[in-house]
Symmetry: D2
């Protein structure tokens, strides 16, 4: 998610920024741009380059303000109508709107709105927000937005583009990240600082829980819509989701991940010949583990640059071939060695199983698995699609059972306390650990996962 | 437009029916189908075969009720969102809705609805209708629909598909046609009877101005939502728009067109060697002219079966080549002959100009042009996109000036009275002749053409 | 097929000409253009507009000479490699080559050439011709081409484009037509004169059997490669294949077809109320029948403008629906009438069957079928894909049996003599009637139909 | 390149193997499969998944023998006709053929063949080989192939698939690698051993210069077509081209690259805080450099997983943005540090320039560049498209000038001797170093680079 106000290359910068944020969503992408008169948008399915054509990008060029979004894939909702930002046209003014996160009372609100005659055409949270905004009787635009925000629950960061302003709002837990930047004389916001690097903007600061920021041609206005702060930044942003060169509080995720690896090494002492990180996301943690433990790190697993759709006959052997096409052990590195493999997390366990088996086949005498985060047990209601309980191996099995399932000689997870200690050391004011502990910091009214909510909204 | 209730091949029959109605719209097509639980839809841009894929058609198969629409091209609105039927999902029940015609107070209604918090996502009349319906506080579904209908002005026929019923409504002027049919034990409706021929249904009768029909699993209910009837069927349906094998009051458009040609022959007496109809739409009128005048009809102009996009350099000569690719004179038929060409109407005059020139080049000694309808002078606010005054040659020039412009030796139009006499002879109870006379039978509140309305709604 | 030499819009004119010849082939299209240095080409599958893109057409613009081809569909060979013209690059000069017709000793020649080390990459006759040409040891280019031509048997017209010349050759039976035209100062050739009309060229004369024409920057050279003439123009070109406005010996196919209808009326006297032609190709014959018999012609059958792929469930009823979508009877024209339907030919009989049934269903009291050509009995080895004996109804059944099969009240074909008399009356010097009589005028060495030859060449 | 004989999943295994070899060519891909009766093929442009559809792969399933190829991109020849394997159909037997490398007398041979009447339809070396084979008068198939091989010069490995055999031939310098493998009871060959890992085959041994191997249903026959061996394996295969997990003589490229980094560290002693490898290809060399020098390695540069086409306005600033989208420095790793960057090679210098600038912008106090291979000066005539002299920076500038151009504080290349020492240590019998030294081991008759040859063959 990215937004910029008052730059002559607004849509091109948004496009570049979205490109650098592509890892946050590959299911669709959109840009809405504006000038003082009206809003104009382009969006489509798939990766950025497929979703927005050169011609569409050209047509957005004259506009000086823009917001953009890459859509995270959920199984049930691959429809163009749900790709953000959503653009609403009306005689009283146009509205472009996008968000990250998940509202936990969206169904409740939607039912109430429909009973008053509102018509919904998507299953997205942004449309709920738009209706609340349009229905508000508050006098000013700012008050109408605040009034809408006060009715919603859940984890969210919203960008609202109008003819005369760009409004930015973050829930008072600050689950999903948003960063403030500056390029030339323009203000911009992005989900991660890697977007600032990509466009050459300066990274100013992290936006705080409950903040309410308005940018107009007159400048930026920092306000709050809620003064009760419960900082709960998503742990998975640190562990897996954010790009390694992205920064939180001016410190790179790479260093945080390395520190998680170091913390794991302190908890998990074991003699071995080699430390191997699962590429690409776990290389930093493996580096930290190696530094702390003194066991040398080697590139014993390589990732094929060319992955994607393949047309292979289904079946057990075939599925094994498929994963073999993505990760390869380097035989003469691991042969005859006792190996510690570091991964950042285990969801279903299928990849871990393959890794252990292939390293052993390549000659490793022992394969110990270290995970630089605690066991992932509970689904996320705040915007990350880690599926249902049934699919998460650690919600079904003990650590010993998982170890047996994946065939490793030992399996060690980082402790929850160890994880929080690392974040504290990097100046974090509090993190959501619901997926590890089941302690959900924000009330879940609808009692539905994001994907279930979409199914329900569609009436399927 | 087509609708059917309670047939096991509902969507396939709808698809075939839409195929036979393709001449009514080539810009997009859609089908919404239902069972007792929910509604499901498919739609796309372009011709039917491009708009709806084989897979989509398959997925609609289990449903027993369906409505479908082919979208008429207007320049400003080639957007998927505007392709009908529109499908609305809500906790209180789904709604599929499509219409033909044009509401003349849509902007006024839309502004009022928006000021009360409604959000519009298309620029179509059907969305206005949907909002009125959802906002209505009437007790029964039927009353909510009637209440919505009573607020709208203009020319329309609506199909509304819900889980338990298909509702059909026609404005009390009956500008746009709708026919009632029966296949096996199911009732169906179609814009033209050619759809009944295509699916093998029986043509029952023409739906009347102000009718309000509800079809459920319990049967059909004939009702009225308005008892004030002003029959004003669109003259252009007879003259040009409907397919020649379609019938009105059980009489074919072919015969009506032939009678218009006969009427023209009575008004326009001229000695000549040959009568030539402009293929395909004016062959019937030419036949009538030939029969009445005794001058033999010959196929002096042929139409190329393969027309479509061509990549030709622009420029005067090139444009002439383009039209030359569509119509060809048969030299040895027209050489040395005095020719009367019959066309059903003249809009811009460019095709007429080419026809006269090419016949003369092929050796015709005289070319007289006869038009089997009165001079087309005024734009249509009731759903036919004949563009603005500026583009219509007869609103700018006298008959003599047009004759000179197209290079004909003479030019004769059918008189307005002559036209009405023909319709009367076929049992018509009254026709709209606004595009010939400027007498608009239905109030035009917004004072906008359909395409201007769409532009305005989009805020462009 | 079209060729032009020395015109600054050579490729655009070729494109327009091919567009007008689209009815001769819808399976693929190509253009090869040249200047004094080298040849350049573009080709693709499907209709002209799909086969050649705007960008490709642009890239061909600088060239002053061009040949083009539209490919006739045969089931077995829908491969890009077989789309003509074929473009061969070599250090001794480039060659673009296309033809119409079918060589009857191609397999024999190909086997001989392969045994000497030639490599074939397509299954087309043009590649055989190219190898003969490249292998010839004759001194001049002209002699090499003539020597190649003298080795081939069958029905053909060849266009050979080289850096310095365009060569045109026709077999000495003249089975497939080719016409000579002139535009501005350039010479051109086309399969039909409708191409000249489309580009605005003057139609000069029909090319004669055995002619060998060379066009260079120095002008045109009329020569012969064979002095033994057996004029045998394909009867089906007159009856069905050519466009109605195309001319032979400066007389339109339309008039020839009308005369065939007149001839049929002389042989088939029957009292009836109406004559109906099957649109579009049989309207001329029906006109002739009506004129001669005095029975009025009416448009009792209409053709849907929008036909094409449709996704309909297979099955008997469904297939009937499919044909119903293409042709519709006009009920109130045929109701209560005795009808004579005129068709130009009957191949499988399925369409005839539908026509008879649908006219009767629409109320016709009698339906008599008249065919303006003799019974089609034998396959064509000279380039028209009328399939195998098994598929041709008249090779399996007597006229009485066919009549019963299609359900007509009577069925009358034109006699072979009657057909030849008509052609004579239009100055024809002799026609191939093999498909009616089994008398094949040119030796068939390989004993294979065009499509069988392709299968054999592919080694399938 | 991959080939397999006698396995029931031959084409699926070929598809998986080609997927693992995708880094060797992204411009096109093809598979030709065979049974005892005939050959059948599928090919297309682009990456494997775009080039070969699921349907095509299905149609290849019944075949037990197959060869496949991924095509290396050269600018001048992106034509489907040039995608390998080429499949030739003939009455005397079908032939599928593909190769890696480049013939250096292809033009000479092609001219000679054309003067004898051969027709070429591609600009590939494989077609030259095919013609030599078909023209050979030798008695046996084996002798015909050997006779053809003895006429060609250059670097090559050929796979020839026929109804009854798969023939494998390598030039007697062994420039391009080919490996022998075994899966179940079938023999297979691949350009790299990573293909064996992907399909689960056993890696048997490296094929030797001059080998000529025939596989039939009767087993494998090891033969030689030339007994003069000059082992000259391409240095760039070790340095850059092969995948890091691929092995030569049972030792991984990863370890060879690491050793090149160690060798560089021995020659280039410099005090620094960090060693950074350019991802992904130079991480192994950086690891070796770090190990040898004792300077810690950190992931100071990250590669964006999502790269590809982007629609950005051209211009200096824009181009810079484009490269910024691919590589990002990790600020808090490099800030305030003296950095040694290890890259495996420098071609144009543009990426190096960006890397130095971006690391300095991110706070590095010194940036020293180490290259783990000698200066790349001369183009490759043996099959790697490193373009012309003009584009290679080291053929235009001294090391000092390059250092200045890219803005580094120092620049050090590995010496040629240092490089050869590493290879010797891994048991190599001799390498081609022509691109570093200009000493071309194989005669270059045509004096043309691969891409120039293609242009010439096309007559452009």
């Amino acid at each position: 998610m990215f937004g910029i106000w008052g730059h002559e290359n607004a849509s091109e910068l948004t496009y570049i920024a979205l490109h650098s944020l592509q890892h946050r969503g590959q299911n669709g992408a959109g840009i809405v741009a504006s000038n003082e008169d009206y809003l104009f948008g382009a969006r489509g399915m798939g990766l950025l380059n497929d979703a927005i054509s050169k011609e569409q990008l050209e047509s957005l060029k004259p506009f000086k303000n823009a917001i953009g979004h890459v859509r995270y894939a959920t199984k049930t909702s691959s429809e163009l109508a749900n790709v953000q930002p959503i653009l609403l046209k009306s005689y009283s003014g146009d509205l472009g709107i996008c968000h990250n996160g998940n509202l936990t009372n969206a169904i409740q609100l939607r039912k109430a709105l429909e009973s008053e005659g509102s018509i919904f055409q998507t299953t997205t949270d942004v449309e709920v927000m738009a209706h609340l905004l349009k229905r508000s009787k508050a006098r000013t635009n700012k008050d109408r937005i605040k009034s809408a925000l006060r009715q919603i629950k859940g984890a969210f960061v919203f960008l609202l583009l109008q003819e005369n302003s760009l409004t930015i709002a973050m829930d008072n837990h600050g689950v999903r990240p948003l960063m403030l930047g500056r390029i030339d004389d323009a203000w911009c916001v992005a989900s991660e600082t890697c977007a600032f690097t990509a466009i050459g903007a300066e990274y100013v600061r992290d936006i705080e829980p409950g903040e309410f920021i308005t940018i107009t041609d007159d400048g930026i206005d920092f306000d709050k819509y809620s003064y009760v702060e419960h900082p709960n930044l998503c742990s998975m942003e640190y562990i897996y989701f954010s790009r390694a060169d992205s920064e939180f509080r001016h410190q790179s995720t790479y260093r945080i991940r390395k520190a998680l690896g170091e913390a794991l090494a302190k908890e998990f002492k074991h003699d071995a010949d080699l430390v191997i990180g699962v590429p690409d996301s776990s290389l930093a943690a493996a580096k930290g583990f190696s530094t702390e433990s003194g066991i040398p790190q080697e590139a014993g697993l390589l990732k094929n640059r060319y992955v994607g759709r393949t047309f292979i006959t289904p079946g057990q052997e075939a599925r094994e071939r498929a994963v073999r096409m993505k990760l390869s052990p380097v035989r003469d590195i691991v042969e005859g060695k006792r190996v510690i493999v570091i991964d950042d997390s285990i969801v279903r366990g299928t990849t871990s199983k393959f890794i252990v088996r292939s390293l052993k086949k390549a000659g490793a005498t022992e394969v110990h698995m270290g995970v630089s985060s605690p066991p992932l047990k509970d689904p996320c209601y705040y915007g990350i699609d880690v599926s249902t309980h049934a699919e998460i191996i650690a919600s079904q099995k003990s650590v010993e059972e998982i170890c047996e399932e994946i065939g490793a000689d030992s399996l060690t997870y980082l402790s929850v306390d160890g994880m929080h200690d690392v974040y504290k050391q990097f100046g974090s004011r509090g993190e959501c650990d619901a997926c590890f502990t089941g302690n959900y910091p924000i009330e879940i009214v609808d009692d539905l996962l994001p994907q279930e909510k979409e199914q329900k909204s569609k009436g399927v």
